[in-house]
Amino acid sequence: MENLIALLIAAPLLGAAVLLTGGRRLDRVGHWIGTLLSAASFVFGLILFVDLLGKNAEHRTLIKHLFSWVPVAGFQADATFRLDQLSMTFVLLITGVGSLIHLYSVGYMEHDERRRRFFGYLNLFLAAMLLLVLADNYLLLYVGWEGVGLASYLLIGFWQHKPSAATAAKKAFLVNRVGDMGLSIAIMLMFTTFGSFAFGPVLSHATQASEGKLTAIGLMLLLAACGKSAQVPLQSWLGDAMEGPTPVSALIHAATMVTAGVYLIVRSGAVFNAAPDAQLAVTVVGAVTLLFGAIVGCAKDDIKKALAGSTMSQIGYMVLAAGLGPIGYVFAIMHLVTHGFFKAGLFLGAGSVMHGMNDEVDMRKYGGLRTYMPVTFITFGLGYLAIIGFPGLSGFFSKDKIIEAAFAKGGTEGWILGGAALLGAAITAFYMTRVMLMTFFGEKRWQPDENGNEPHPHESPRVMRIPMIVLAVGSVFAGGLFSIGDRFLHWLEPVTGHSEGHSPVSAWTVTGATMVCLLVGVGIAWAQYGRKPVPAVAPRGSLLTRAARRDLLQDDFNHVVLVRGGEHLTRSLVYVDHTLVDGVVNGTAAGFGGLSGRLRRLQNGFARSYAVSMFGGAALLVAATLLMRAV
């Protein structure tokens, strides 16, 4: 069985290798190879899942030691995989959603001449993501961590001829690198603290280390999570990442990669449990991001960017939950999975809309599309209901638990966090309703573009519809499936641990409050966008709206402080290198040149002058001789 784990990764890796080096002759079948290998990986995952289910809850951990990776005195990094309930959940999510999106991309990328390459990158992503969740030590996890970053870079910048795409890709990679720095420092800290960075030794001995060190490790891990999961303050790349093809946004920037941060925190739960300060920081980051993302999502007119804001916000929920400790871990992962379904569904829906609208992304140029693309409308609508937490659908179960857990944190913190989560739920309802109304309801607002091509909205081909339908089904039922009978809780508990909190407010009260928030959000959105027609050109809006449109000015801050500052720094350093460092050397050279120029003047060419020096020299010699004799 253990060998299957390696195959799990090997299949998409093989796909990537074949597709990327195969050359043009694979152009016609490349996408099917990619999809097939991804599906194969999913099948392996299923087999392993069934195998795990057949085992006792305590023995559901498979370890596969492949080879000794970096053996250096005192530093043993092995290529070892660990498949337990947590990674299994991720494997299924990644390969399942991944396969669906492969399938979807077959249709979506049909007219792209570089489709083979696209599937190669997608496969590369799958392999890296699987490596990330299957690694048994942090260094191997780091490989996957950066691997998904690379795949994300390649896919965001897939349409490289667009400068905006290339810039967005670069930005994503760079911001992620800042996070990666946190991860590598965390690994170094683990190494100096525990002498190892494998999950086993680190997590089982976490309590023996000093709290200061654990807090440091926790904060560094949080930094890593912030980068990968687009949490404040490293969230700025996610909006720009929407430059990539929509399937990429669905797979990487909604369902899987961005949730890696949550995985990291949950996986390192033992460290965080022993470092309350780090945990607090995690919850704060989660709460701030969930509001930040939600606010940004409200203001965007670009359908994908609105969804990206939403992703940020939803991951904020997960991070918040993960920061709550054992109460929240399970719910964080549960929300992660359900979110994987409905957000991927929503993105695919958005992609389907764009596909039918000549790649238009501005929602103000949509309107009334429900009649043109009914399947898209229904699947998107189900995803919408799931994300706002409509009772009975996936989002309802997972989000509700998180809000409960936040209140259960207790004290002022509990109230603040819970309040933030509730507020987030209201805003979520608002912006998602806004997206829904602007896209599918109201009057049609599209115009011919400058070339006179009027969009002819049409339903997408079947190969794209199937994944949307599957994901919609998942968005509807996953939550119930997990929550009823606490199945998911019992499945994950052996890995993450679980504790019941004592909420100051009862579960029903929280649910009720959530419902009220939801209604308020939907109501306001309907009042603004449902009752009156949506203007085709965005109104100026309030100060907050304008700021939110610009990602709450975070990019501007980055631009002024980091980009400009960096440019000035490098430019002045280039100058310094040229004038100062090189200048000292050149100055020395010039000094010697000048000195020899002076000395050269003594060599005036007059024989008599030379004779004087010769004579003087002779005199000195005589003097020296005499002195030596005298001594």
Partner: protein
Amino acid sequence: MSFPLLTATAALPAVGAVITAAVPAARRTAAKWLALLVSLATLALAVTVLVRFDPDGARYQLTESHAWIKDFGVRYELGVDGIAVALIALTALLIPFIILAGWNDADPLETGSRRWRPTQGFFALILAVEAMVLISFEATDVFVFYIFFEAMLIPMYFLIGGFGDRAHEHGEAAASTQRSYAAVKFLLYNLVGGLIMLAAVIGLYVVAGNFSLQEIAQARASGSLHMATNTERWLFLGFFFAFAVKAPLWPLHTWLPNAMQEATAPVAVLITAVVDKVGTFAMLRFCLQLFPEASKWATPAILVLSLISIVYGALLAVGQRDIKRLVAYASISHFGFIIMGIFAMTSQGQSGATLYMVNHGISTAALMLVAGFLISRRGSRLIADYGGVQKAAPVLAGTFLIGGLATLSLPGLAPFVSEFLVLVGTFARYPAIGVIATFGIVLAALYTLVLYQRTMTGPVKPEVSAMPDLRARELVVVAPLIVLLIFLGVYPKPVTDIVNPAVKQTMSDVHKTDPKPSVEAAK
């Protein structure tokens, strides 16, 4: 007496150089093939060295020792430890690629050179450099090492000054001026370093009475050779200065950008991937072994300098307009890592540094050679002259990206392992320095991706649109390097196994042990 394998390894390219230089003027192609065959034969010998070397055996193996200058106790002593073996293998491996990449760089038909037999000269000089580098890695006699350490400058000088890059925004005359400036700068910097080292070598002889590394190190270890603290420190500084110029360490680095910018890409690779490695290698072998106490004394200062190198080199790479200069500054940053690893005085740091030398050689070769192919197609080194190459030449862009990713130490590619080892090793002893050095990885991503974005992506520039993709010869050069980068990234064990015992020895030379983790039980 057994077959002198080490001498043969170094002598073969030397003889090859002489024969290549003697090939008649009209038989250019023969000269090229001859040089290639000689380099491949050298590679075969280096592989034999690698195979015959037993990592768990004696410290120095395959030793040869003959009296040379009796009056001064100079002996022709050769011997290799694990670190040297790894670097010999790297050198012998890279030279065939360098020759193949520079196949047409000195061809008068391509360059319009009116010089007498330029092709023969070019390849003969490359082989001569190889011979000297190899013997520098093998020498265990300080004097022998010194001679070849310095003699290397002569062929390098001609390679930089005589066969430089013809691409220059202000025309060929400007290129020629720049080239001679770079060559002279290279020579002067290294000569000054060498001169100071010569003083230290003589000083060492005065103190120790002979030049044998092994004898001196043993005498020092056993306490029979006592050095006054100040003497040791001065001698250390003399040696270190020369190596720091060659490596190069901030603020002695400014010759490298000029030299790499003006040399042709294969020669630039020769400089940074092969010749400069002698500097870092010598720090490990000579500085630490001969002057352990002084090395420890100087560690804080050197670490700070290497830290500056890392950050400073990376920041300057970001600000460059010239592709080759950018790679040069990136190399300065990487050399900062190597030196930091050496002087962190931990097993991880030193293993990482050795591994880094090998990996940096391969990754820079990949990046620089592809950059050279790119430059030769467009005739310009300026980043701004490119754009959208990806569309016209996807394979070239792909290999360039992989080279770039290796430069930024992407996990899964070889440099990552070494960089991480260096960082961990440094962090274990000096956390603050380790953390600041980690910033280097962000900056590395910045300069690499900016370079890639500006040259390869975006709208296709008209001058670029007809650019041919990699040719078969170029692919033969790049593909093995990339395969090697991936292989050593996934499975560096073959190298670490050779290196580890040698590092252990070095650690015991300086009487240092790794810091213990604070939670022992986790082991």
